[in-house]
């Protein structure tokens, strides 16, 4: 993609070359549940940080898939690990362990 150095809005282009497959595979090995996510957003809707912090687990998984690792990691910093997302997830994802694993692998 050609970067002209200016634009009207911040670029929303996805550069898949930045996606680190090896790292993501390690995450999948640590917590296979990450692949179960269907991005319904229940986790974000129930999150106690909503309206205060900027944690959004759906978005974290999305960002990881797009190769925006540092943005994803920055989001998890405001997580309180309270486990509400664990209880509302319709796919039964072990969200707390997923967040801990992301912190461990993408540090």
């Amino acid at each position: 993609m050609i970067d002209f150095g200016y634009g009207i809005s911040p670029s929303s282009a996805i550069n898949l070359e930045r996606f680190d497959r090896a790292r993501f595979d390690r995450l999948c090995a640590e917590e296979p549940d990450v692949l179960k996510c269907m991005a319904c957003g229940s986790c974000a809707a129930s999150c106690p940080t909503a309206g205060h912090g900027n944690m959004n687990l759906r978005k974290v998984i999305l960002l990881l898939g797009r190769g925006c690792d540092s943005d994803a990691l920055a989001m998890t910093r405001s997580c309180m690990l309270c486990g509400k997302c664990l209880l509302v997830c319709p796919r039964g994802i072990n969200t707390r362990h997923l967040i801990l694993s992301i912190n461990k692998i993408y540090k």
């Binding site: 549940d33 205060h52 920055a74 309180m80 309270c82 994802i93 072990n94 707390r96 362990h97």
Partner: protein, 600 residues
Amino acid sequence: MQDRFISGYHDFVLPFMIGMIFILSYLAIGIIRVIIQLPAKDRKKFFLSLINPRLWIINLRDIICDVLLHTKIWKRKPLLGYMHSSIAFGWFMLIVLGHIETWMFVPDRLSTFYYPVFFRFFVMETDHTIGGSFFFFLMDFFLLIVLSGVFLAMFKRIRSMVFGMRRTTRNQLPDRLAMYCLWAIFPVRLLAESFTAGIAGGSFLTRPMYWLFSNFLSDTYHILPTWWAYSTLLGTFFVLLPFTRYMHIPTEAFLIVLRNAGIKVSHPRNGYTTAQIYSCSNCGMCIDACPMMSQKKNLRYATVYFNRLLRRRNWAKCEISADKCLMCGKCVAVCPVNVDSCNIKQSLRAMRAVPAASDYSYFNTYSAPEPSPEKVLYYAGCMTQLTPVIYKSVGTVLDKAGIEYTFMDRDGGICCGRPLILAGRNEQAQEMIRKNTELIRQSGATTLLLSCPICYKVFRENYDLKGIRIVHYTEYFDELMRLGRINIKNSGEKIVYHDPCELGRGCKVYKEPRRVLGAAGELVEAEKHHDESICCGGSLGSLTLSYEDRKDITLHSLDNLMYASPERIVTACPLCLKTFSPYSPKKVSDFAEVVAQNMN
């Protein structure tokens, strides 16, 4: 009664002496190491406890009850209790009586270490004295007691179910060798004493055996080999001891002294924890108790195996085991030695936690709640936010009772911090504790009402809220009921109460919710209740347990609750409510909901 040998020595005592010197030096070094590894303030506590006469009495009582008589096992399973106390108390009495008879009949030999152990080999009876036969009777009697215990122990290996244990620990090679030694020690002692009964005399057990053997065995040839065998077995047992489960025999007394000094787990392996894991008798009570054991593949995560791995410092496997644990505390509740495994696992998690940067600057956006006239502050917590029925019912009850309160996190609040502590991130949890404390202090409340047991535990243990009464709504409603501020009518419905782990075992609140529910309906008990209640499976304690595994635990726990076929299951924890609801065959309600429904 007098000496048979002028020297008072025979070569066969050597194996015993080698074993004994080994184990005593091992223990001495171990105890010194534990004391050195204790944090300075704990070490001070320990030494102070040694000069406190009141603690001496408590220590003595606990050592007699737990180490010798095993009262805790008696209460749970009498036959198992008899097995333990017969071996422990019987053996203890044999040692004590051995010393007493040495002191009475050959006082010069009391300084010879092995003499009381092999007393009957070294003495001969010149005439039948009353004193001598009295002691011989006692010795034979206690030997019989020990033998009965040993036979029960052998039988337990074949049919553990008879003792009320569905599963028992898998032993490893050193454990097995030591176990066979232990089984053989007392029968061989009986044989040795029987063969010697012609010279040294005997009582109701050894003398008939001597007569029996003398009919077909030329006894004098059997005396020495059997004493050699007895000494060798003792020596082998002592040498094996540090590498086996039987290490709990000498270490438990030390653990009791440390515990009564008020020392808590501070490191996952060193210091106090060393005393704890060496005192684990690998009895396997925790295997049947653990809710995870409803699936066979989880057997390896039982606390007993965790302790064993920790003894060998197998950190990788320990971590897996610790991360799986639900932290429900049931293994601690049933443990005969009170090994505080939950805290050990938690400190392991804290030590192995990956350092992660956190950013809680958004905490500043929360503002302090307005004070209410009665200064009651209600903190619902994250989990209650997911179950609106709870905070609505709490509101109904408080309104009807005429209590004005402030809802601290009506529009969402900061987590209490316990989930982070459970994940081993103590530092981050401190930020939450600090901010919540600040908000609560600013509100000017004098009573903090909680509806989530998870929050309740952390507020009681980790927060510094002096002057503010921290109360769970089960306790608060019970108090309101007794003060007559709320009236509850009996609907006659058959209700079973589920003890949430954090409220029951965690905070010891059992009777208050039962008293209120007893007034609201016909209260029945589950098969396992109070401190033996089974975790709902939703616990935040487990980090890695999968959804499917949790579901299995939930179904198992529900089976347990349906024991007396109740019409409704009542719990006092939002997490339990949320976990049970999808799978329960009967309606699951929250405590507050039941109270609100049955109010006049």
